[in-house]
């Protein structure tokens, strides 16, 4: 989805109104990645007012077709603001634009972080216990987010077992796609049988990022500069985030480094436990790692459907269909199907 000159001019006018001073857009182009949302580099100069000078920003807006369970930009902006206020390391949120007349849909603007986010490049660096420890501590901060008043009231709190809710949700998504995926149904049935039936105690339900993984944080040198992509955040079990980070599918081929392809699990777990005061149960992580692969497989099916029948022909989306088999294989391996793999 491109942005023509008229839209760029309308964006300039929107920024000028917000800044109460003349704004010049000096650079505006789409950043790589972001199959679910689009991120645009936005450099501006403000003539005066409260924010004079040059600003390096990112504009984030919906891709052409939405993905189930992805928050709208207004909700994501509210989450980002709360995370920022709570002291989580995130890009500073700046402005929300709800009027579709500006660039064709809602968007928000945040400060641009320095560093590298690409997972396939980060995992090529030497193992980094300090970085993975910083990420473990950061995740503990996220799990400590407690909204005040009606902030984030749009997020449902689990009334039942979050795991069983997730199983129901992913089945629903598969049904919406009309997709018959016996291997994913196998994984979902296994999860259903192993999931606790009851809702966890209130203290065991935390604010989850739900896409906390390599590729969704920025690293500048050896320093983590911010956690990105809050579009899936919601209430859940802490192990969901811990397992998502460690799942094989997010190690970008550096399989031996089980914490995000960056380092071993131990420094990640140690830092999380120390910062959160919780004790990690490896069996619960193993359970949620099966869920992680099922979830990513269902989302990959959704992305492929956007290409095949959603009117959004994209080479990247087309290839995402071909990630599903390896995710299914991992689900089957982790649950003991075939080849005598241990459950």
């Amino acid at each position: 989805m491109g942005v023509n000159k008229d839209a760029r001019d309308r964006l300039r006018d929107f920024l000028t109104k917000a800044a109460e001073s003349a704004v010049t857009i000096t650079d505006f182009r789409r950043l790589p990645g972001g199959a679910v949302q689009e991120n645009w580099l936005l450099d501006i100069t403000v003539a005066g007012g409260d924010w004079p000078g040059k600003h390096n920003l990112v504009l984030r807006r919906d891709a052409a077709t939405p993905v189930a369970a992805s928050h709208g930009r207004l909700q994501e902006f509210q989450i980002l603001k709360l995370a920022h206020k709570t002291g989580v390391t995130v890009p500073t949120p700046c402005l929300m634009g709800e009027d579709p007349a500006v660039i064709g849909g809602p968007f928000f603007i945040m400060h641009r972080l320095t560093g590298e986010a690409a997972g396939h490049r980060l995992v090529k660096r030497p193992p980094d216990d300090a970085l993975v420890g910083a990420l473990g501590a950061e995740l503990a901060k996220i799990h400590a987010i407690r909204p005040e008043g009606k902030a984030l009231s749009f997020l449902d709190r689990p009334q039942n077992s979050p795991a069983l809710d997730a199983v129901a949700r992913y089945r629903h998504w598969l049904d919406d796609l009309g997709a018959a995926r016996p291997a994913l149904e196998w994984g979902l049935r296994w999860l259903e049988l192993k999931a606790p039936e009851k809702a966890p105690e209130k203290a065991d339900v935390v604010f989850c990022h739900r896409d906390f993984r390599t590729g969704n944080y920025m690293v500048d040198g050896s320093r983590m500069t911010g956690i990105l992509d809050w579009e899936f955040a919601g209430w859940g079990e802490p192990e969901e985030d811990l397992a998502w980070f460690c799942a094989r599918c997010w190690r970008f081929g550096a399989d031996e480094r089980e914490a995000g392809g960056i380092a071993d699990r131990k420094p990640f777990y140690d830092a999380y436990e120390q910062a959160s005061g919780r004790t990690i149960d490896p069996a619960r992580i193993a359970f949620w790692e099966v869920m992680a692969h099922v979830r990513w497989a269902v989302i990959a099916c959704q992305q492929a459907a956007r290409h095949v029948c959603g009117g959004e022909e994209s080479l990247e989306l087309a290839l995402t269909a071909h990630v599903v088999p390896e995710l299914e294989l991992e689900v089957l391996r982790l649950t003991g199907a075939g080849e005598g793999e241990a459950a």
């Binding site: 790589p32 016996p182 291997a183 290839l319 071909h322 390896e326 294989l329 075939g338």
Partner: protein, 124 residues
């Protein structure tokens, strides 16, 4: 059963891209785009080289498990629904047979989509 877009469909997409079809969304990064085009071609080539043997095996095995002679798509729909209902799959009497079938099917599809992941798993 092969996922869509199939290898043939990927190849047709690549041909349209190389023919200058501007309606297809592509990454801005030229190197990344070339890598993706190479990946799409490789999947298509592997599917062509492997042929229809995996789908024939899948059809045969599903027919045996489910005892019905219908299309591969319908057999997969039936199996998916049965696993969800708890009639086949984890915790059932035929879980070993169904598990082996699903494992073999997934393995065959990974051999087409991304065989390099099989080495670290000792599955080459």
């Amino acid at each position: 059963m092969r996922d869509r877009p199939t290898g043939e469909e990927l190849l047709a997409l690549v041909e349209r891209i190389e023919g200058g079809d501007g309606s297809i969304i592509l990454p801005d990064d030229e190197r990344y785009k070339e890598l993706m085009i190479a990946g799409a071609r490789a999947i298509a080539e592997r599917q062509r080289d492997i042929g229809d043997g995996p789908e024939k095996r899948e059809l045969r095995e599903l027919t045996r498990i489910l005892g019905a002679e219908v299309s591969l798509a319908d057999l997969n729909k039936t199996l998916a629904a049965a696993i969800r209902a708890g009639d086949h799959g984890p915790g059932t009497a035929d879980s070993a047979a169904v598990g082996r079938h699903l494992w073999q099917t997934a393995l065959e599809r990974v051999r087409e989509s991304n065989p390099k992941v099989l080495g670290p798993l000792g599955l080459e």
